[in-house]
Subunit: 240 residues, 4 copies
């Protein structure tokens, strides 16, 4: 069956949650996919990060959610991850955590406004917040409905998953994604730090205003636009 | 006399307080019990965690509080631990700490409301707060009375110790418990993080509302109910 | 000349500031004394903690402030340390730091009220705040005048240095002391954590009330009174 | 071409950002100059600090901004660094970071007031804040205009770069400098800690007042004035 590389990548990304200080106990999980074969690998439920080894990582069909290769029991949040991969076709890795500051914004029932260039370097605008789940949506098919309200909110706001790689699930916490598990981890680090920095900003000035639109765009596009000039390009473009 | 395993377990759990960042100096203690023989092991008073070795851990009778096997002097908080074991029969480990955020809630004279699923994953509702001790209860038998107001508060609120494994002693700090010393430590980590996350939430939105009841129940029960589906079960239940 | 042990002790205590997270850069200094010979050893000025070795520690006369054995230049705060040793005869070690929370209280021009037992375990009441220095007291003999307003404030409030082993110098930061350099470090750790915990408490409840007097006394005395029962006594008293 | 020493120094200073906890991901860059040859060395864009080696550090002409010795692509912030070196002739190292607290002040659109001696030990007064960039200044030549508003603000306030070695760029974050890359790092550590301490002070007392002028001057001058007496001098001056 293989997919050894995917399992290793997902295993490593889960351990990276601890190194980045994004989890305590077993409060987070990372998944990754191989789009070509339609397979998702995800952290097993309730297993400590130190104990995690690639062979314990279960594989599931992205399309049907069926287990393709049994490791340990997959995370209880598996249906949310699956739905995100089904609906957001550009993404290759998903992180779910209960990190202090991003979770606090979700509990405060506030989206995270973009107050500066640190935020704009990573997210093309506010980090959105889902609507409350209805009691029936909580009772049945809860984890799948969690994915559905994320997709619903992105549709309402006309957001695309590539430019806004994170969401706050109300009263719950963040889901974050990226091109692969590693980039999802990087976006999770960025989200938590932005969530913290924004909370501190509002403590200093409770009337803090959003970052001007032109500056937001400049920073987002110099890193992510078609003429992006951040980082190392193949072909050696000019310096700035 | 033995109980070597219990002493090792309690010794290790006390050192885990430091690793988890829950104590400075000697600001915390962990105990554990062997219910079969009615014996409690507890940290000795004022000893540094680095210096702690199993043979220094004293053993006491849960029923009478008498020393069964002398190690060093037991923690000054010993009578509180004993009373909790006497009154809460399901518990096998107790932690007392002065961790920053949980202690701050105790000093603020506020119970910790359940604002989200992180809290609900560990505690079936608000983390309760004891009433003030009367001067006479402070003067005489102080540590035992501390245990009594905990038990009194649980009775008043109709709480059971298994579903609400922590309490805030007013103007003092938290006591936390679990099935054994290790699970008490895990609940202590959860409490401190929830205490912090709730404080940050209220800084972001001072009017933050409690987590809807249905969501609280869902999260508590998917982890702790009779149909819990979090973690690895023997017998290999279905994925989510 | 010797005093090798004192120099080693002071060297070690200065390095302990870093381990305890109480300083960045060179923002703190520790001194110690040998009362029998009337000698004070203190950190040299502006030297990094990693580079510090016992032979660089200068020795001064407590009485005259004259250098007895030249190491590197003593800390600019030397006259404050000297005055504290001259006036508070029970103390054997002094710490001065710019730790985040204690310094914030000093900058906020607020003494730290005793809101709970964590505070009462270490300080017999509020941590006091000095009056502002007058311009002339700043211009001339500044560091000595800093010591003088500390002593003045203790006299005004009828405090003794043994029961209240710390003070906040207004707009500046804390001085902390103890029986020896190591106990001064422990009191500094306690002060910083209490300063942080009190700030968090007041963020949760801006109307937080002081710890009831009976509880404050109980905790202070069970650790420091003549019938103290915290820690390990020679002679093996009963458990609680 | 040499400049090996400069490249090593800049490489080491960039890694020091991580050790000091001032950056996550690749959120910061340090440069240094050799004034004699008119050469600037700067971190390459988007490269992880762990992977950084001296030979990847590009060299540019301070005067023209042209690449003198190609390493990897220089930081996108290169034009800001260049302008600072061109305009502030006393400086030899520049740090740009998105550290939590200093960035929060920049996002809060507030300069950092001097509330105590910790601040005064490093900065001769408030840490200034630049005016908002106009949309046209953002669209074209953005990074160079960022440098221009810094210089403009220093001119308006009559500040000199040596006495005020940091600035907050509005909605963006801090730039910090020093005599060389290492001293710029030290000033960056001081700025972040001062930014945090000031935020905590204002949480404790929202009406906190500035440090009295005489005290600010005393502390700044005892460390930086012509009669400075902090640190170790050649020639062995008297103790305090």
């Amino acid at each position: 069956m293989a997919h050894d590389k995917l399992k290793q990548e997902v295993c490593r990304a889960n351990k990276a949650l601890v190194e980045a200080g994004l989890v305590v106990l077993t409060w987070g999980n990372v998944s990754g996919v191989d789009r070509a074969s339609g397979v998702m690998a995800i952290k097993p439920s309730g297993v400590g990060y130190d104990d995690l080894i690639p062979k314990d990582i279960p594989l599931l069909s992205i399309k049907t959610g069926e287990i393709i290769e049994a490791g340990l029991q997959p995370s209880t949040d598996t249906p949310t991850h699956l739905l995100l991969y089904q609906e957001f076709e550009s993404i290759g890795g998903v992180v779910h955590i209960h990190s202090t500051y991003a979770t606090a914004w979700a509990q405060a029932e506030r989206e995270i406004p973009c107050l500066g260039t640190t935020h704009a370097d990573h997210f093309s605008g506010s980090v959105p917040l889902t609507r409350p789940l209805r009691p029936a949506e909580i009772q049945d098919d809860y984890e799948c409905n969690t994915g559905r309200v994320i997709v619903e909110r992105f549709a309402e706001l006309g957001l695309n998953a590539a430019d806004t790689p994170a969401v706050l699930v109300r009263h719950h916490g963040p889901f974050i994604w990226g091109e692969n598990p590693q980039s999802a981890i990087e976006n999770a680090i960025a989200l938590e730090e932005v969530a913290r920095m924004t909370a501190v900003t509002m403590q200093i000035n409770s009337q803090a205003l959003p970052c001007p639109e032109a500056l937001l765009e400049k920073h987002f596009l110099r890193k992510h636009g078609s003429n992006a000039y951040y980082g190392q390009r193949s072909g050696g473009a000019s310096s700035s």
